[in-house]
Symmetry: C4
Subunit: 206 residues, 4 copies
């Protein structure tokens, strides 16, 4: 991968490339987030009782919807900075999308078993995967770009957040073995750190 040999001209000729990566990613995100909702089971009887009896399902779907939305926003925020679709960026992105597409599977499992221990452990594990693959994307995007809009302080804060979130997701896995509700709450709390895709050191341009 002779990325360093790439000239200005090449980037101009193939500038449409990163756009196809984001278009493909958006397709995957749109399918994952929509199919999850479409597969909701219809209540057995046409009563409010039957509808509200499904509340654990409803809550876990709404929560997962919000989580996927947060992941999309961060993905969207990051890939704007990508100017070239390198080989490593594409594979990091595929790994990221793979992790994301496991979320509905685990949401479903977790809702069906009403937040039992093992499904919540695996749910936290999937978010750990989503987070790690996102870090690969940050690495590849920020590392290859020597622009002035990513100052050193921001870069450092990005790394602090990365280590922190990985520790929390990993911790949630362990905690969920005994206390699935607390483990689930930890996953949710950790995702709030991504509500704003940028870090304090960067001007919020979204």
């Amino acid at each position: 991968m002779k990325r360093n040999q790439r000239t200005e001209k090449d980037e101009t000729v193939y500038e449409s490339t990163p756009e196809r990566v984001t278009a493909f990613s958006d397709g995957v995100f749109a399918i994952v987030i929509t199919i999850m909702i479409l597969e909701l089971k219809r209540p057995a009887t046409p009563t409010f009782g039957a509808l509200f009896a499904e509340w654990p399902t409803w809550i876990s779907y709404i929560v997962s919807y919000v989580f996927i939305a947060i992941v999309w926003i961060n993905h969207h925020y990051l890939l704007r900075h990508a100017t070239v679709a390198t080989w490593r960026l594409i594979w990091a992105n595929f790994a990221h999308l793979f992790s994301v597409s496991l979320i509905p599977f685990l949401t479903d499992w977790m809702a069906e078993t009403r937040l039992q221990s093992v499904p919540v452990v695996m749910y936290a594990f999937v978010f750990l995967l989503v987070n790690i693959t996102y870090l690969l994307l940050i690495w590849e995007t920020m590392g290859t770009k020597k622009s002035t809009d990513v100052p050193n302080r921001a870069r450092r804060l990005f790394h602090v957040r990365s280590v922190l979130t990985n520790l929390i997701f990993g911790g949630a896995m362990v905690v969920a073995l005994w206390h699935p509700y607390i483990g689930f709450a930890m996953v949710g709390a950790c995702l709030t750190l991504y509500l704003r895709p940028g870090v304090p050191g960067m001007r919020m341009k979204m």
Copy 2:
């Protein structure tokens, strides 16, 4: 969110941003509108009788298809005015898409129970959600743009229509508790107010 500090330069650098939001939204709309049709059940026997016996299903699917089309047209019309994908625009859009993706679920429930009371109440409720989240989008799009193509009179008419449609959808929920057919008709009638996405005060540019 230092939106006011954004300079002309920033908007130029990140001008592709709102386009990715609409592309993502189109993906979700396309999935919602298509899956609904693809999940139609095949008639038990190869006869016209078996096909036409499903008429309540057919009608509710065609009606929901037209409704989602109207929602898409209005979304499409509005987001053309968005020049920057702000944090609030993105979240209002996710809430809007969430509401839209509940439509097939309720269409199905309504068709299965042949327009019983509770499913129709919830159907009207989902359209109330779609409407409220659309108002958030209008707010965010029109509010952040001080262009001359949204005159004050148009803005006022937009707000009159908003209050009116919310009242009708809310009314349909109450009416459907006793008269589901009338409640369903009210939802349909209300949506005709959105057949033309613009309001009389604005030149129709679609």
Copy 3:
């Protein structure tokens, strides 16, 4: 819909509009053509016999895939000519997409009943709908554009083909009542008239 009042400026400002219509349409086409294949049933036993026993299903799916491909190519060919997404264009397009999204449903019904009479009649009927809605699109696209690349002779040939294909699809419906195989062959033969999206009077620019 003051389409005639639109000035050059408006078209420039909103030039991204028809692109969103085609993007949305592509989403629907991609879902329809892919889901049809994904829903194929797995053979009961891991033998070539079990796989080939499903040959009527295979043939009807391959044929429908080719048919949808032809419809997409014509849609793609036509919408390149659209410069503005008018209200009528958008609704004609929604009607067209609705017809297209019925194809998998009928392919499935036809394959399951092994080309019995009624499913083939309805299959021909759906293609009649696809054709009629395509004519609406032609009308709207060619009618609003006074460019030199659609000469009068081409326009006339377009109309001859339209009438002809409507007659054949309609004829196939009637014939299929007694001879479903012949009716199905008529649908296929008729679609070959669309293999080349243009008409002889126009230079083939695809």
Copy 4:
């Protein structure tokens, strides 16, 4: 198809055309790769045992995911070179997408039967189809473009790789009749030849 008569002007007027082909293809790829994951069955009990008991399914899904990713990367790499969406390019692309959309069907069959002979033969056959249709795309894209970035040596290497990979996929079909595990490994090994979409004679510009 008077492709040779096309002038510079035509290409400028219709330059959006190949983009719609890639957008449509991305939609199909996104659906194929995502639905495969979404259809994973939930384990019967909420235990790690039940989850890991499904390991043959997990492995075959992860492998197919990687394979489809490789196919997408090559498709993406090749279509960047396409400047005009010719009639033949569009049909080669539809044949390619058809082959790709058969992968989940066979992954599922293979996983369910735990790598029995016939499903693996058919799996290798589908990759042979994917490869042959990709060669048609190469032919159409490279053949119609007389640019300097495809030197003769690269073109020759492309053809050597084509013949080689076709032989391996064909060989895998034969071998899988007696040794499905070896046949499956051959398919995997062969795809590594496509890990880098370019050939040594071309500068890696991805």
